[in-house]
């Protein structure tokens, strides 16, 4: 019919080679492990940058009154801290773990769409370069809170809002491509015999998370687009004078925002469900109930968004509907917590560092869940809304939840990635410093919040001064503790430590422990056998 004049690219056998040399390895890579590493380092750097902003916030709040930064700069710090931690630290870190671990866990050679994988990663540094440099634009960076409520983001925002909007757009493109890649990999690349109900829970939770991402990131794109046109092109989606409604912004935003919360915690559930059985030397209790609980949480996450908006004057039936649906989420979440506890029950427990962080996760995340349950009750929320109680709640689920699970995952898989055991003494030091300081940091926020201290304000009433000093000291200590982690990871990456066997933890199960340590550059060229 027609002849092919081009010479056949001799790509087919190239993947038996090792990585390319130098910088080209990282910018052109199609290797899931390289891309996972890039994601993880990017997330770690962003975690430190966002953490530095939190330090500025805590330094300002160390005393009542205005002392260190201007209120407008304070607002930029709270805003960009939130944006960076959500979109730059937690989400990319989980995506990095997904990239590293999912292909190895399901017996695939790589992600299904490796080049797109590279594109999804490399958009991120550019997006955050834009976001961070917008802080230096005349009039400052985004200062309307990470939730960018209208009219703060439309009528009262600075000129950098357009940069913010387009930065969010390209971050969204990156997330959607990453999520599509995960979904397709799990659907299509599982080794023969890896049936759905044999998949490790980390794979399951990421599979469901990826669907949440595909469903809600486009809605966020719609929300920022409407902010852009309202601010610059005279539309009035969020302006009552033109027939719109500022509350409509909150509906659209939280339709994205609530599933987003689960995007940041479902993979954490997967990690904990992987680590706890290993160090309990028992199979996970209630595997299938875990899968169904994850799916139920994902479904419920779409019908609870307005619990962020109880004080906006919605009709009573809407308040009740969203209150009951929200409280319903505690059922599948409770299933998970009880399953983890039941897995440990009468297990041969040992307390290696990943397990220490996992147990801390179970206890502290549950506390965050309980304060969430308090916030879910509409009449009670009228008092708690926009106070430090809310800040305490979501930092318990995000820091001692999501971040602790990420640290646990790192301590669990780092020996597999580097081939050496990290410095366990340093790791334990990191654990105890983090555990104590994080509670000094966030626990008193419950008290000042219940007493009425509002969030996102650079000054406060004099009676909150003592607790705020303690909170700030906890904050500085927690920030410094993470430098121990940084030092430890760098040391492990430079292969300083004892070599580890293929199966690093004696109780571990899963395909990732069948391959060599450190994991070879290309894991499976032919599918492994799954029993």
């Amino acid at each position: 019919m027609n002849t092919i004049t081009q010479t056949a690219p001799t790509h087919a056998d190239e993947h038996h080679h090792g990585p390319a040399k130098g910088i080209k390895r990282w910018i052109f890579t199609t290797n899931h492990k390289d891309i996972g590493t890039l994601y993880l380092w990017f997330a770690f750097i962003m975690f430190l940058v966002g953490g530095a902003m939190a330090m500025v916030i805590r330094a300002e709040l160390f005393q009542p009154g205005l002392q260190i930064v201007e209120p407008h700069f304070f607002n930029q710090m709270t805003t960009v801290h939130g944006l960076i931690m959500v979109f730059g630290a937690v989400m990319p870190a989980f995506t990095g773990l997904a990239n590293w671990m999912i292909p190895m866990m399901i017996g695939a050679p790589d992600m299904a769409l490796p080049r797109m994988n590279n594109l999804s990663f490399w958009i991120l540094p550019f997006a955050f370069l834009i976001l961070l440099s917008s802080l230096f634009v005349e009039g400052g960076g985004p200062a309307f809170g990470w939730t960018f409520y209208a009219p703060l983001s439309t009528t009262y925002s600075g000129d950098s809002t357009a940069l913010f909007v387009f930065a969010v757009h390209i971050m969204g493109i990156s997330s959607i491509m990453g999520a599509i890649n995960v979904v397709v990999t799990i659907w299509n690349m599982r080794a023969p015999g890896m049936t759905w109900m044999k998949m490790p829970l980390f794979v399951w939770t990421w599979f469901i998370t990826a669907y949440l991402l595909i469903a809600v990131m486009p809605v966020l794109a719609g929300a920022v687009t409407m902010v852009l046109t309202d601010k610059y092109f005279g539309t009035s989606f969020f302006n009552a004078a033109g027939g719109g409604d500022p509350v409509m912004f909150q509906h659209i935003f939280w339709f994205f925002g609530h599933p987003e919360v689960y995007i940041m915690i479902l993979p954490a559930f997967g990690i904990i469900s992987t680590i706890v059985p290993t160090f309990s030397r028992k199979p996970l209790f209630g595997y299938s109930s875990m899968v169904y609980a994850t799916a139920s949480i994902a479904f419920l996450s779409f019908i609870v968004w307005a619990h962020h908006m109880f004080t906006t004057g919605m009709p009573v039936f809407a308040e009740l509907f969203f209150m009951y649906c929200t409280m319903l989420i505690s059922v599948p979440t409770g299933v998970k917590v009880f399953n983890w506890v039941a897995t440990m029950w009468r297990g041969a427990l040992s307390f290696e560092v990943p397990m220490m962080f996992s147990i801390a996760f179970i206890v502290l995340f549950t506390m965050g869940g309980f304060s969430g349950l308090m916030l879910a009750i509409t009449p009670v929320d009228f008092q708690y809304h926009d106070t430090y109680f809310v800040v305490a709640h979501f930092h318990y689920v995000l820091v001692t939840g999501a971040i602790f699970s990420l640290i646990a995952a790192t301590y669990y898989w780092l020996p597999k990635w580097t081939g050496v055991m990290y410095d366990i003494g340093l790791a334990k030091l990191h654990f105890w410093c983090s555990l104590i300081s994080v509670n000094v940091l966030f626990f008193p926020m419950h008290f000042v919040g219940l007493a009425g201290m509002p969030r996102r304000i650079p000054d406060y009433s004099i009676q909150f001064a003592n607790w705020n000093q303690i909170i700030s000291l906890g904050g500085f200590a927690f920030g410094l503790s993470q430098l121990i982690f940084l030092a430890l990871v760098i040391k492990a990456c430079r292969k300083k430590g004892d070599p580890v066997p293929d199966k690093v933890w004696d109780g571990a199960t899963g395909l990732e422990w069948e391959v060599k340590s450190p994991a070879p550059y290309h894991t499976f060229t032919t599918p492994p056998e799954i029993k």
Binding site: F28, F166, I214, V219, T235
Partner: protein, 293 residues
């Protein structure tokens, strides 16, 4: 099952993703700066140049990436498993597009069913209307905003109806292009694809005509309150998708002329036709909810 899994295909390193990421960077910086500059001075400054450069880089990226991709596919490097991956990837991409339109449809329904009636005093908002905008009448299409902006509504008779028929016909023609490919009738494929592209272009031309009519005769503008907002953003984003879909089909058309695709190697063709059906369905929803109701 074991046969198709016997050897995995992992593509080699490629420069195009990083080029694409850089293109997105330029587009975001350029668009962000352009919009801010327009609002400050009313004139396009350097942002415009950066935006153009970014779009150019993205074009180069797509050209190069697809070229490599087509070449690899033509020499038979792609196995069946990869074909499935591509198809699944495309379908989930279309699903994400559905959710994007969902956000704007959501805004439309919220405005119609909640915010406009409430401004008129419905539900528990009697005093809102009384105090803020006495005399405001809650009707849809919202031809007079609470602030007093007036406009005329766009009817569905005439251009929109013709456009609906055009797009529906194009969905039929692309379907026959596909059956032609399945039966290896390449003439039919080329003709039917050509018709589809022509119909898509007609649709876009009429859409421009309709916008001119809206701006000049009806006074219906982007800033004419929430009716104009939802009208222009929904039809505008749909029009952008039709434009992309048409470009996609044009590429496929030339590949058909060059002898590409067969009954069992037709991913890009299928993706283009799925995309086309998707913009078609979106239009049907638009026609019902934006124009008729």
């Amino acid at each position: 099952m074991t046969e198709q899994h016997s050897q995995y295909y992992v593509p080699t390193q490629s420069p195009w993703p990083i080029v694409g990421a850089f293109g997105f960077f330029l587009v975001a910086v350029g668009a962000g700066t352009l919009v801010a500059q327009l609002s400050q001075t009313g004139e396009a400054g350097w942002g415009q140049m950066v935006l153009m450069a970014g779009l150019f880089v993205l074009f180069i990226m797509m050209f190069g990436w697809f070229k490599d991709q087509i070449q690899e596919s033509r020499v038979g490097l792609h196995n069946q498993q990869l074909g499935i991956s591509y198809r699944q990837g495309m379908s989930w991409f279309i699903f994400s597009e559905v959710m994007f339109f969902g956000a704007f449809f959501g805004a439309l329904f919220y405005a119609r069913m909640i915010s406009v009636p409430w401004l008129g005093g419905a539900s528990n908002n009697v005093m809102t209307g009384e105090i803020l905008w006495p005399g405001f009448e809650a009707i849809w299409p919202l031809t007079t905003t609470p602030a007093g902006n007036t406009t005329q509504a766009m009817g569905y008779w005439g251009l929109p109806l013709i456009n609906t028929l055009i797009l529906l016909t194009s969905s039929v023609t692309i379907h026959f292009a596909h059956t032609g490919l399945e039966a290896d009738k390449r003439k039919q494929v080329a003709w039917m694809l050509g018709f589809t592209i022509l119909l898509g272009s007609c649709f876009l031309a009429l859409q421009v005509e309709e916008y001119i009519h809206a701006y000049q005769d009806l006074g219906l503008k982007l800033d004419s309150g929430v009716y104009g907002n939802t009208f222009f953003l929904l039809t505008g984003f749909h029009g952008m998708h039709v434009t992309l879909g048409t470009l996609f089909l044009i590429v496929i058309f030339f590949r058909i002329l060059a002898g590409h695709f067969s009954a069992d190697n037709q991913f890009a063709f299928q993706a283009a036709s799925w995309y086309w059906h998707f913009v078609d369905v979106v239009w049907l929803c638009l026609f019902v909810f934006v124009y008729i109701l």
